[in-house]
């Protein structure tokens, strides 16, 4: 359960209520910091409404979270050499499928855990790398335990975007890459997309 809670937070952190448009943050740490409070307040205040109408929360997540994530980049990293020679539509389809899973999983998780968890964003260490950086956070779990959750951000033409979540050193990208790449090479991308869509493959621990 712990990993799942953390992954949920992973996105909870980055998900905002239209806040991203207002924040002209030039560094990812401020971006994450400014958004954190907003998310938890929103979900906690409207918990009943969202519980009654989970689709509303899913829409919110989809509209506000996704612009802050670079899912396409994540998809390319995960597919690696297995993505070579694939039509762009197939890669997009794979990315969409990942997005749907994330939105679904995180919305559920937010309803279950948002009120029980505390979150602390650690300051940037050293100079900010202009292209690639990591935002480190500490999550306090309901049982009092503390767990580290890091986000890998990179600079895109549309600003900083997150593309990896690293929990206790375990990278989401690396781990899924090593599962999905050989599966695509062995069974083809369609079979993998099918497995993701039908929920036979759990995307988040």
């Amino acid at each position: 359960m712990k990993l799942r809670v953390l992954l949920i937070l992973g996105v909870a952190l980055i998900f905002s209520s239209g806040l991203s448009a207002q924040i002209q943050a030039d560094d990812p740490v401020s971006l994450v910091e400014s958004i954190t409070g907003q998310i938890f307040t929103d979900v906690t205040e409207n918990l009943e409404e969202y519980t009654a109408n989970p689709e509303a929360l899913e829409d919110l997540v989809r509209n506000d979270l996704m612009p802050l994530l670079d899912i396409n980049y994540s998809a390319r990293l995960i597919l690696g050499r297995a993505g070579r020679g694939l039509a762009q539509e197939k890669i997009d389809e794979f990315a969409t499928c990942m997005t749907n899973l994330l939105v679904n999983r995180y919305s559920k998780g937010l309803l279950d855990f948002s009120s029980e968890i505390k979150l602390q964003v650690l300051p940037q260490r050293g100079d900010l790398n202009p292209k690639l950086t990591r935002v480190r956070t500490r999550v306090t779990l309901p049982n009092g335990g503390e767990a580290p959750v890091d986000y890998a951000f990179h600079k895109t033409p549309e600003g900083w975007k997150a593309f990896d979540v690293v929990i206790e050193g375990i990278s989401y990208i690396t781990t899924y890459r090593n599962q999905i790449m050989p599966e695509v090479q062995a069974n083809g991308i369609d079979s993998v997309i099918e497995r993701l869509n039908t929920g036979q493959m759990q995307l988040a621990e």
Partner: protein, 253 residues
């Protein structure tokens, strides 16, 4: 109890021989896991054992109230403190070793043999070290993956370290005979119960063996670097010719 030890040694030996005799059908990561053929056999053996262990762990998890289970976790964690202490000293982390000694003394007494983690409430930080991590900080920083029977994922370095640490672990020093075995088995069941939530994900994976290896290896690196490993080189993932299964031999020990 001598018998149990002989039996375990025999099983380990048999598995080792079986692994060496088998021809490797595939290798997903020759660089980090050159013994994959052997490791997969041990993994299968552990999975077989899990058919017995898992139901016990499920029952244990149901019966035990959460606070009690947390207490058991604290108890075992406290028993590891002497090992952490020794290894912090070996790594020259003297302030941390003093903290660990303090933790051990407080939790073993005021914390009722370690069941209550009083030290954490007092704000004394927790560290986790072992001989494998010490060897890594001394320069043996890359070791080949090794799946151990009963204990699960490890590396050659960490398996060796684990054996050495066990000679002065409190469970081995203080308890004898069936009490000692009982405690190790109890700990095994308690540990297994903590991973029950992750079973579905593991089993739904395309290659559960690789998933377990990836998760363990990454988390181990994280421990070695005391929670601050260098950032991944993501660019290499996009390079067309990058293939972790390419190098034919491993220079890792």
């Amino acid at each position: 109890m001598h018998n149990i030890r002989s039996i375990i040694s025999l099983i380990m030996l048999a598995l080792l021989l079986a692994g060496c005799a088998g021809t490797q059908s595939r290798n997903t990561d020759p660089e980090n896991d050159p013994w994959e053929g052997y490791n997969r056999k041990v993994y299968a053996f552990n999975e077989g054992m899990d058919k017995v262990v898992r139901p016990i762990a499920v029952g244990y998890d149901k019966i035990m109230p959460d606070p009690l289970q947390r207490g058991v976790g604290n108890f075992f964690r406290n028993l590891d403190a002497p090992v952490t202490y020794v290894n912090l000293v070996l790594q020259g982390k003297f302030r941390e070793s003093a903290d660990t000694l303090g933790r051990f003394l407080i939790n073993s007494t005021v914390g009722l043999l370690g069941f209550i983690d009083v030290a954490s409430r007092l704000g004394i930080p927790f560290y986790n070290e072992d001989l494998g991590q010490t060897m890594a900080t001394w320069g043996y920083d890359d070791s080949r993956y090794l799946m151990l029977p009963f204990f699960g994922p490890s590396t050659f370095r960490d398996g060796t370290g684990r054996l050495a640490d066990s000679f002065y672990h409190p469970v081995g020093r203080v308890f004898h005979g069936s009490n000692r075995w009982g405690l190790w088995i109890f700990r095994g069941i308690d540990t297994r119960a903590r991973y029950l939530d992750q079973d579905t994900e593991l089993q739904s994976a395309y290659d559960p063996y690789v998933l377990m290896r990836d998760v363990w290896m990454q988390n181990r690196l994280y421990q070695i670097y005391d929670g601050d490993p260098p950032m991944l080189d993501y660019d290499i993932y996009l390079e067309d010719d990058y293939d972790p299964a390419e190098p034919a031999t491993s220079d890792k020990q």
